[in-house]
């Protein structure tokens, strides 16, 4: 059983050569590519708040959007935004379904072990009730997380 992250050297590192090789190939490609515009010519105009502009684009607030430079060309993303929110919710539910298991028709909490020590029937019972409770808590946390991600993605 893997008890924790361990650094293993030797033969198990062999596939890693592939990753290095991939980097080599891709680096070769990139270095042989001549990008037409210098970075100096690009960038954002002075005096606008990038964060607010992102917010406007995401929520399709075209009226508030700056028209300077290429910033005005940013597409509206409202539909994608909503879709992502729905997907995130679905993913959370899916993870819960995956984590949950059923024992004799009763939903059992995710982290309870079936083959516990002898005489664990009692504790398993407790775990079940706890699990139901814990389920709620977890969901709440996940919700918080999700809203966090949606609104304050920049924080990461």
């Amino acid at each position: 059983m893997t008890t924790g992250p361990r650094l293993r050297l030797g033969e198990s590192l062999l596939p890693g050569v592939l990753a290095v090789a991939l980097f080599g190939v891709m680096a070769l490609v990139v270095l042989n590519t001549s990008f037409t515009t210098q970075m100096a010519d690009a960038g954002y105009p002075e005096g606008i708040s990038i964060t607010s502009e992102i917010g406007y684009a995401m929520l399709d607030l075209t009226a508030l959007q700056s028209t300077e430079g290429n910033v005005g060309n940013t597409e509206p993303f409202l539909a994608a935004f909503i879709l992502i929110a729905v997907v995130l919710d679905a993913a959370l539910d899916a993870s819960l379904v995956l984590a949950k298991r059923e024992s004799e028709g009763q939903p059992v909490a995710a982290l309870t072990s079936v083959s516990g020590s002898p005489g664990s029937t009692d504790s398993s019972q407790v775990a079940t009730t706890d699990g139901g409770f814990g389920d709620e808590a977890e969901t709440d946390v996940a919700r918080e997380d999700a809203s966090d991600t949606e609104t304050g993605g920049e924080d990461r």
Partner: protein
């Protein structure tokens, strides 16, 4: 009178109905299906006679109608029309009308005879028997009035099937099923060529009609006149080839050399079946087909000469074998082969009337002889060996006298019917033979066969009816009823008087118009009449005479009559004694060869076992190894390959990832090189 022809299909459909009734309800009917059969064939006979009268009295003298077109389409024919139609149609001209009467009459008499031969003897499976007879009669009648080659071919095959079914009637014995199979296979071998011939004719001329302006015969004539090239051959060569292909079916069905071997074996069937199918009607189908498309054969001297030569050879060949047989039915079988040889000879030398005449006479006297033999077999409590008979003359006078009438006709003794037709054939062969050496050889063989015919015929008669009884059964014969005597008497009268139909020698010698059949066959559709054939043959054969026509007639008739009498005389001398002995055994080696039928069966078995079987084995081995090997190899290779490749699926995610990355790297490198990303 013309409206009568609308009922023509019924001629064939009556027996078909009898077939259905016998098959479905035979077990519940009195006489087990014989009554519907007799009624149906009687109806066919009446209608056929009406047709005969209508053809004779009608203004056109024929009836030709297409009943049903079952396929039509464009034709890629070499010459002839653009479209081709496959139809069922009826052609009743003098030839067909005559044949219809013959077939339905014999069939009717055989049905009546069966009452005595089958019902009274307590046979089982009678519904099957009568159903077979009904189906046969239907097919044969439909074949006779078919108006195109394809329809003829279909019913040709159907009569072959009925022959198979009826030969194998006693399927619980060992010999009958084997004989049935042999008959089926041998005739089918000939029919194979026939089928190719039908296709060739259809592909060449785009029509399969026997008669009329759009017949293949007319098309072939036009092609020959126009010197056209057909499939890379000259028109005449091509006509010869197709005619010979069709002749393959004729040779098989009419039991001509070398496909005659099935007919003696076919005697395993009930004697009534032998009388109907293997003597009078089905075997005649081959000869009838040649007569039906005689115009086509007349276009090709080569084909005609081959027909004549095959006929002459078969006549002699079969007659010699008939001389040594002990079984009364075997003798008759070989005589049947021999007599059909005569018909082929007659047709081959251009004696169209003579051939048809002999066909008619032979149908009567050979059916009579077979039915007589059937009566003898009943008398003898199902004993067929002639050496165990003898002395039946006084105990069964009706059978005896009718049998003798048939025998005299068969042997060709004046004034019985067989003499007139056989003499006419030999006369026609002689006058052509005087100019053509090959035909002269065929004529010589036919002439020698007359002697043997006389010999074996009377050997049979004397052994069967004369002398002292040589077994208990012969001393105390079983009686026969009216149902046996009536057909015998009818046919006996016909065998005696049918010769009047065409007394050609009398006409040639005295000028009295007694050639009814000839004038009868002069009618009909344009192009299928005797007159038209005579014109065609004028180009083919030269004829010569010894002295004048009259002397030639007298010489031909005298020769054949003398030979027939001497053959009969030899038989009389040797066998008309109280205790006859086997004189033929004195022939030594020749006797063995004759008893073994010239080793034809052995030779054909060798062909099958020594040649075809290894060939089939080789083909089978090729199939098993090369073909199957390829298929198996493909599957083995893919099985083996997949067995190896599937080991990539280790179930370990890391390996999958590694494979993915490897693939990606390879793809990247390939695309990079191709797209010049590394430059």
């Amino acid at each position: 009178m013309e409206g009568l022809f609308d009922y023509a299909p019924a001629i064939a459909l009556f027996p078909l109905a009898a077939f259905v009734i016998a098959l479905a309800f035979g077990n519940y009917l009195p006489k087990k299906g014989a009554i519907p059969g007799i009624v149906a064939t009687g109806g066919s006979l009446a209608l056929s006679l009406a047709m005969l009268a209508a053809v004779a009295g009608g203004e056109e003298g024929y009836y030709h109608d297409t009943l049903y077109t079952w396929a039509a389409g464009d034709a890629a024919s070499e010459v002839g029309p653009e479209g081709i139609e496959f139809t069922f149609g009826i052609l009743i001209d003098p030839l067909a009308a005559l044949m219809l009467v013959i077939v339905s009459l014999i069939s009717f008499l055989v049905h009546v005879f069966s009452l005595g031969y089958m019902n009274d003897e307590g046979e089982t499976g009678l519904p099957r028997y009568y159903a077979g007879l009904g189906l046969f009669t239907f097919s044969m009648l439909a074949f006779v009035y078919a108006d195109n080659l394809l329809m003829a071919f279909m019913f040709f095959e159907l009569v072959g099937l009925c022959s198979f079914l009826l030969i194998g009637f006693w399927f619980r014995t060992r010999s009958a099923p084997s004989a049935a199979k042999k008959a089926f296979l041998v005739t089918r071998f000939g029919d194979y060529f026939f089928l190719i011939g039908v296709i060739a004719i259809a592909a060449t001329f785009g029509t399969l009609q026997f008669a009329g302006n759009d017949s293949f015969i007319a098309a072939a004539e036009a092609a020959i006149d126009g010197n056209e090239q057909l499939f890379g051959f000259g028109a005449e060569t091509w006509v010869t080839i197709t005619a010979l292909l069709v002749l393959g079916g004729v040779v098989g069905k009419s039991a001509q050399f070398p496909l005659h071997t099935w007919l003696p074996d076919a005697m395993e069937g009930p004697t009534t079946v032998s009388a109907l199918i293997h003597a009078a009607t089905m075997v005649a189908a081959g000869v009838y087909l040649v007569a039906r498309m005689f115009g086509y054969y007349a276009l090709s001297p080569t084909a005609l000469a081959i027909v004549a030569f095959v006929g002459g050879f078969t006549a002699l060949f079969a007659a010699t074998m008939g001389c040594v047989k002990d079984d009364v039915k075997q003798v008759l079988a070989y005589s049947t082969i021999s007599q059909y040889g005569y018909m082929m000879l007659g047709l081959g030398v251009g004696g169209y009337v003579a051939g048809v005449f002999h066909l008619m006479n032979h149908a009567f006297f050979k059916a009579l002889l077979f039915l007589g033999a059937g009566a003898v077999i009943i008398l003898m409590h199902h004993e067929q060996n002639m050496w165990k008979m003898g002395g039946l003359k006084d105990k069964a006078p009706v059978t005896y006298w009718t049998f003798v009438a048939g025998a005299l006709a068969l042997a060709g003794i004046i004034p019985f019917s067989g003499f007139w037709s056989k003499d006419e054939i030999l006369y026609d062969a002689l006058i052509v033979g005087l100019e053509e050496p090959l035909i002269l050889a065929a004529y010589a063989m036919g002439l020698v066969a007359v002697f043997f015919t006389g010999f074996y015929t009377f050997r049979m008669v004397f052994l069967t009816f004369h002398g002292k009884p040589r077994s208990e059964a012969a001393e105390d014969p079983h009686g026969v009823g009216w149902s046996i005597k009536l057909p015998l008497l009818t046919l006996g009268v016909l065998a005696v008087v049918a010769g009047i139909a065409n007394l050609a020698p009398v006409y040639k010698l005295t000028g009295i118009e007694l050639t009814f059949l000839e004038s009868w066959l002069e009618g009909g559709l344009e192009g299928t009449t005797y007159v038209a054939y005579t014109e065609l043959l004028g180009d083919v054969y030269d004829t010569g005479f010894i002295g004048t026509e009259s002397t030639t007639v007298l010489i031909a008739a005298g020769l054949s009559l003398a030979l027939a009498f001497s053959g009969a005389g030899v038989a009389w001398k040797l066998y008309n004694v109280p205790e006859p002995v086997r004189h033929t055994e004195k022939l030594g080696g020749a006797y063995d060869v004759l008893r073994s039928n010239y080793y034809q069966d052995e030779y054909q078995v060798w062909l099958a076992e020594g040649l075809t079987l290894p060939l089939a084995r080789a083909a089978d081995r090729f199939d098993q190894t090369v073909i199957d090997g390829t298929v198996d190899g493909v599957s083995t290779a893919s099985l083996f390959g997949s067995d190896r490749v599937k080991r990539i699926q280790t179930g370990i995610v890391t390996n999958y990832a590694a494979l993915l990355v490897t693939g990606f790297i390879v793809l990247l490198i390939v695309l990079g090189i191709l797209g010049g990303w590394f430059v």
